[in-house]
């Protein structure tokens, strides 16, 4: 290994990157855009409220009180529908997923129950809903929960089962805080994989590698400078992502030594995979297609964007054999939960994987043209 040669190669790569302005812009801007879009989209996920259409046919103080109770619960934004309107027609016309109807005689029945303590008196509220809406069952679930509370209170007896809730975390993490480590892992993967594939196939196709093979630069110098180059890009891109996340969403993430460790392991693993791809696919186009075929499923299946619990069981098993999963989980363990033991476990898995593919990648990288 010759540091002078590695340095010369690194300077050429960085100058080429800096001078290719559109490529530089998209390298930095793409993950930032993802963070901004998804962060904004899920910003209020924790205080989510649903639209609820209510048709009050009773139109009395008691029925108005019930509607107010629903509103005060905080889960619903109530839309009042005139009693004269046909609820079924309204649902269709306004694409609303559920209409709650309070029947005429609600107040009469309520007073009879309260004043006369008549257990046989009850009232039936109707839910008219559209099955095809994914949110409708959540709405029904919340409504039933609110009405159970009211029913229980009316009995005048204190509840038997109570619950005590204690969070494992000092504070609840937000979606954007879950999302940012995933995007860091993903963009470092994309940079390293596509960067390596592009660099090697393009330079080989143009004959630059052939020329380099007649100079003292060795395979080790070349690969090492590529690793350094990809790591510098990863640091640039990650810094930009973190700055934007702090500025736009005031995220609370722990930045410690695990961040560069996982970035470096991410770079090694995917530069290794990139080198293996370039061995099997000679043309730049087919190499890029192969890189896509590897990176896209990895992005979606390894939990970069969404928690794994949202996926079916077998997909969760698949995720656990993907290298990116361990980078995601390791970064989250260190950046969100400050769980160093978990970070160590995940780093060990991705570390072994990176070492194996990197060695295979070195073996697969050829200088001599023997075809």
């Amino acid at each position: 290994m010759n540091p002078r040669v590695v340095g010369a190669n690194l300077v050429v790569s960085l100058k080429s990157f800096y001078r290719a302005k559109p490529a530089m812009f998209f390298t930095i801007a793409f993950p930032i855009l993802l963070i901004l879009v998804f962060g904004a989209l899920f910003m209020n996920q924790d205080n989510m409220s649903f639209d609820l259409c209510v048709q009050d046919l009773d139109h009395t103080d008691s029925s108005s009180q019930l509607v107010k109770t629903l509103e005060l619960e905080g889960k619903f934004k109530v839309i009042r529908i005139e009693p004269s309107v046909n609820a079924a027609q309204y649902t269709r016309d306004n694409k609303s997923s559920l209409v709650l109807t309070i029947p005429k005689g609600y107040e009469g029945a309520f007073l009879q129950r309260m004043a006369l303590n008549d257990p046989d008196t009850s009232v039936t509220l109707t839910y008219l809903y559209d099955l095809s809406s994914s949110l409708v069952f959540m709405k029904i679930h919340i409504l039933n929960w609110v009405f159970s509370g009211i029913n229980q209170k009316m009995t005048g007896v204190p509840p038997f089962i109570r619950s005590a809730e204690t969070s494992m975390l000092a504070r609840k993490y937000r979606f954007v805080e879950f999302f940012v480590p995933g995007i860091i892992a993903m963009s470092v993967m994309i940079l390293s994989l596509f960067g390596t594939v592009h660099l090697n196939t393009e330079l080989r196709q143009k004959g630059v590698i052939r020329k380099l093979s007649t100079t003292p630069i060795t395979r080790t110098d070349w690969i090492l400078s590529n690793i350094l180059y990809q790591f510098i890009l990863a640091v640039l891109s990650t810094t930009a992502m973190l700055l934007v996340s702090y500025a736009a969403f005031s995220v609370s993430l722990q930045i410690n030594a695990w961040l560069p460790v996982f970035m470096l392991l991410d770079v090694f693993a995917f530069v290794g995979i990139g080198m293996i791809i370039t061995h099997f696919t000679k043309e730049a186009e087919s190499a890029a297609a192969a890189a896509n075929a590897i990176s896209f499923p990895m992005m979606f299946l390894s939990g970069s964007f969404f928690p794994l619990e949202m996926m079916p069981g077998f997909m969760q098993t698949v995720a656990r054999i993907l290298p990116l999963y361990y980078v995601n989980e390791g970064l989250r363990a260190s950046m969100i939960f400050g769980d160093h033991m978990a970070a160590l476990r995940h780093s060990a898995v991705i570390g072994v994987f990176a070492a194996v593919v990197f060695i295979l990648g070195i073996i697969a990288t050829q200088w001599e043209e023997d075809q």
Partner: protein
């Protein structure tokens, strides 16, 4: 270990196969130190494969190649710092300037004392030092390639089709450059499919066809031993003149539909042909007589012309 050798390059029974294709078939030749050696042949003859084995880009299937007395397959690390290579279809980093590219290659060779400005001047790229590679014309790219091949002040220079695709002026500049290098004592190994290039530059020419060397020597000796005749070209002749020449028993070919080339032994034959054409009242606009060249040698030896494609076309 390096040993002092009279021959810079020694090639013995060199063979290269690509699957079923025999690209280079049992070549043996030597290149003397300080000479310009040209491997001349049409596209696909095996020139590039041969030069790329000698300059360490490819591995031979069998045979032996020694550079400075060292085996190229075993002593690449010792050989590379002493050679300069301009590969066929040379290319470099698109967004790196002329000066930066030369600096980069100079660093690869760890040459702290490369006279970068001197090299730029030598290849006449002074006005383009800050130009990025992608903005250079074909001729300028080729000249940059030669400058890069010289960054380590090599003893032997390999130039694989250095003038393919260049206009006549740019080609002439490259020729002058090569002659200058020879004066400085460099050994130059050149491949080309331009016979005038080999004839003008080379001390030794090896003619290669279908992977085999079919003749080798100085251009003069090759011509002398393979083409002991004069070439008479008759321009704008009619069919009648062509018939007359043929009937007189001379070997003749149509150069295009209006010109014919005739091989004659001596000047007297030219006079005889002219008289007969005149007597037969056949039509003839002009004529010239010249000594044979390497193209004629190649034609005689292989029955093929060197140029299966228009001159200046891109080599495969």
């Amino acid at each position: 270990m390096t040993k002092k050798a009279e021959h810079a390059i020694e090639v013995e029974n060199l063979t290269k196969r690509y699957g079923d294709l025999l690209a280079v078939n049992d070549l043996s030749f030597n290149v003397r130190q300080g000479e310009i050696f040209a491997l001349l042949g049409p596209n696909g003859a095996g020139k590039t494969t041969t030069v790329e084995i000698i300059d360490t880009i490819r591995m031979p299937t069998s045979g032996k190649v020694n550079l400075f007395g060292m085996d190229v397959t075993k002593s690449k690390h010792e050989i590379v710092p002493r050679i300069g290579v301009l590969p066929q279809g040379f290319s470099s980093f698109d967004r790196i300037t002329v000066k930066e590219t030369i600096q980069y290659y100079s660093r690869l060779f760890s040459c702290g004392n490369t006279d970068i400005d001197g090299l730029i001047e030598l290849v006449n790229l002074k006005d383009k030092t800050r130009e990025q590679y992608k903005n250079l014309s074909g001729g300028l790219k080729q000249r940059l390639g030669i400058a890069i091949a010289l960054v380590n002040d090599p003893e032997v220079l390999f130039l694989d089709e250095p003038t393919t695709g260049l206009d006549p002026r740019a080609r002439r500049e490259v020729w002058d450059l090569m002659l200058g290098l020879k004066e400085k004592g460099k050994t130059v190994f050149l491949t080309t499919h331009y016979m005038e290039e080999a004839e003008f530059l080379a001390d030794t020419v090896a003619i290669i066809s279908r992977g085999k060397i079919i003749a080798m020597g100085s251009p003069e000796a090759l011509i002398e031993s393979n083409a002991k005749y004069l070439v008479l070209t008759l321009r704008s002749v009619d069919e009648k003149a062509f018939d007359i020449v043929r009937k007189m028993g001379f070997e003749s070919v149509h150069d295009n539909h209006k010109d014919i080339r005739v091989r004659v032994e001596q000047m007297d034959d030219v006079q005889k042909i002219l008289n007969t054409i005149q007597e037969g009242r056949a039509s003839l606009l002009s004529l010239d007589v010249r000594k044979p060249n390497l193209e004629d040698v190649f034609l005689k030896l292989t029955g093929e012309t060197l140029h299966k494609e228009p001159a200046g076309g891109v080599a495969q």
